[in-house]
Amino acid sequence: MTDRRSGAQVAEKPKTAFWNDRDVRAVLFQILIVLGVLAAGWYLVHNTLTNLESRKIATGFSFMEREAGFSIGESLVPYSAADTYARAIWAGIINTLVISVIGIFLATILGTVVGIARLSTNWLVARIASIYVEVLRNTPLLLQLFFWYALVSEALPGVREAIRIIPDYVFLSQKGLRIPHIVANDIHGWMFALFLGGFAATLFWRRAAAKHQEATGKLRPLFWPTVGFLFGPAALVWLFAGAPLELIKPVLRGFDFQGGGTFSPEMIALLVGLVTYTSTFIAENVRAGILSVSKGQWEAARALGLPNNRSLRLIILPQALRVIIPPMTSQYLNLTKNSSLAVAIGYPDLVSILNTTINQTGQGIEGVALIMAAYLTVSLSISGFMNWYNKRIALVER
């Protein structure tokens, strides 16, 4: 009730009846609200408990320890029908995270490209980008998912007529994209170690280059040394060791290819749908961010003799990022939440698995609570991380 920011506190309070006192009324009002919410909550909980009791519906999370009994189409976690519900749900969480992480990564790249394309001085490029954005963001995501799924499952050939993207190694069919597995070799471990070492060396080189530039004003090359440090030693070791690379080829046997890894049609459709849809929103954020940088910055960069791509990278993007990051967070969150639409096209994400669990156990409340808890955790982590990043790149005002 009170607005203390008004701060018109008079030194001497005028005498009023206590029920007209602002502070007293604020307290009373809050007590009323809390009581009201508690009463409503109690009413609902009481009804629910009574109903559960009278309808003889089991409650509690003890079902998590029971055998799930259903299979999951694809899972990074080893899982079989003999495992518990808890493990099935865990597999679902991992699947959701996989889709979200890959989706966020691809959508960011695609969105940034499209956003920059919309601002291109090339009329044709800008037009194509804006048609892309308008079409995708003005139709429901679910419709797009159905469309992609139908396209993937109806337009692709059967396994026997699979498209050989790389003959003998990569196949695309109604049953998904099949890729070979790499057989692990000792050398690979060494290569990875060298790659990490190269990463450290790169950081060192970049820092030294920056210092050198500040001291002398001269640029040192960055791109090729980076590539060299990262991949050079690893590649050399690999070549000296006789280039050991053993691939398990997918082989058509029985109903499907055996061996190698798969991206299922459900996953492909879901990823394509989520990435293209979200990229339009990211593109708009990127565009708005770039437009928010004043024209003078471009002109100043040009006056310094920087070419277009360098002024974009060194001058404009760092400033635009401050505008881009906050709305980007909510797009990342949206993508993660939208991945729950997987249930419509059969990708076994968290919601899809809990949906099955709810059906099998009849315990809807627990199921919905688990869905909400899992997404809240993910959402809060993403927004926490993005807030931290946002603070890091925020303008430090002098």
Binding site: M1, W19, N20, R25, L28, F29, L32, G36, A40, N51, S54, R55, K56, I57, A58, G69, F70, S71, I72, G73, E74, S80, A81, A82, F146, A150, S153, E154, G158, Q174, K175, R253, G254, F255, D256, Q258, P265, E266, V343, A344, I345, G346, P348, S352, N355, T356, I358, N359, Q360, G362, G364
Partner: protein, 346 residues
């Protein structure tokens, strides 16, 4: 100022009340029977679309075996088979709808299992259709037996006993499979016919229904001989209302009893003149049976008159003359080697 406070609270309260009142249809009093009579209609939960069991045409008229169960109950309780309100439900919603009292009766090709009978708080009436889960595959694959399905991709709907039986069967036979689990029936069927899956599994009646109604060319698909489970499909009601349960139980029984007694929708009127005491009791010529159920004495007559006896219901919806072309098989009367056996109406 204090006025303001109360206005605000009032607004909140009024809003809450309005929200509740708007859709909360205050209905049932004590028992389901009283509620049905007061409403003048039976609220019946059915499948969204499963030709042969329950499916609506473009005008919204429902037909099918489960629909006939609803109609028979409306006829025996209200004397009019048209007094049914249909609630199309998907697998996930069906039990919640029954538990919450939204529907009086669930006639949605639901398998009678111990878990559902106990932990979901349901009571099942006699089985209207003895079914078993099977597989359908494309003829092109050349598969002759479910045992040959090792490594296959199988389309299945979630939230059903089907999904569990499928996993059990492959585990028991030490075979592998990949499930494609899609909730929407139309979507899962589309995925199968598109070739996304090698096999589609559900109750064999459902397979026949799907093949008849949805395949571009029904002859391209074959239903494998193995039945991997028992699926007794039965109507269900809530526990704790014995009066209503009795009505549903005995109305379903009455249709089978009518077939045993040779009463059909066509000859029901003539049969009233029969000397057979069992027929007289059944049709209410000798009073008593209706009173036991708190119904009118012509309850069974109305039910049979409206939908026919069990044999008629079967033949009309799923029998040889329909696209499903199902045999009576285990659903024949016990006197003919089947399992349909009516508890005596006496």
């Amino acid at each position: 100022m204090s006025k303001m406070t109360f206005t605000f609270v009032n607004v909140l309260a009024a809003g809450a009340v309005a929200l509740l009142a708007a859709g909360a249809a205050q209905a049932q009093g004590a028992g389901t029977l009283a509620a049905v009579k007061q409403r003048g209609a039976v609220n019946c939960g059915v499948n969204t679309s499963l030709p042969g069991f329950s499916s609506p045409d473009a005008q919204g008229n429902w037909t099918g075996m489960d629909v006939d169960t609803c109609k028979a109950i409306a006829a025996s309780v209200l004397g009019d088979a048209k007094k049914v309100k249909y609630f199309p439900l998907n697998a996930q919603q069906r039990f919640a709808a029954l538990q919450s009292g939204e529907i009086d009766l669930l006639a949605r090709n639901t398998t009678w299992t111990q878990t559902r009978d106990t932990s979901l708080g349901l009571n099942f009436a006699p089985v209207t259709f003895f079914d078993g889960q099977g597989f359908m595959v494309s003829k092109k694959l050349g598969v002759k037996s479910a045992k040959e399905l090792n490594g296959a991709t199988v389309c299945v709907q979630p939230g059903t006993t089907t999904e569990l039986n499928l996993a059990d069967y492959f585990r028991a036979n030490k075979m592998d499979f990949k499930p494609v689990v899609i909730q929407e029936l139309s979507e899962v069927e589309a995925a199968f016919f598109a070739g996304r899956c090698d096999a589609y599994t559900t109750d064999s009646s459902g397979l026949a229904s799907t093949r008849a109604a949805r395949a571009a060319n029904a002859d391209d698909y074959v239903i494998l001989p193995e039945l991997i489970s028992k699926e007794p499909l039965a109507p269900a009601v809530r526990q704790g209302d014995d009066e209503w349960y009795n009505i549903v139980f005995w109305t379903v029984t009455a249709l089978v009893e009518a077939e045993e007694l040779g009463i059909t929708s066509k000859n029901a009127d003539d049969m009233k003149k029969s000397d057979n005491p069992a027929v007289k009791r059944f049709l209410g010529v000798t009073p008593g049976m209706g009173k036991n159920l708190n119904l009118a004495e012509d309850w069974a007559y109305n039910a049979v008159k409206a939908v026919g006896n069990y044999g008629e219901v079967f033949e009309r919806n799923v029998g040889k003359a329909t696209p499903l072309k199902l045999d009576r098989g285990v659903n024949a009367l016990w006197t003919k080697g089947g399992l349909q056996y009516a508890m005596p109406v006496r």
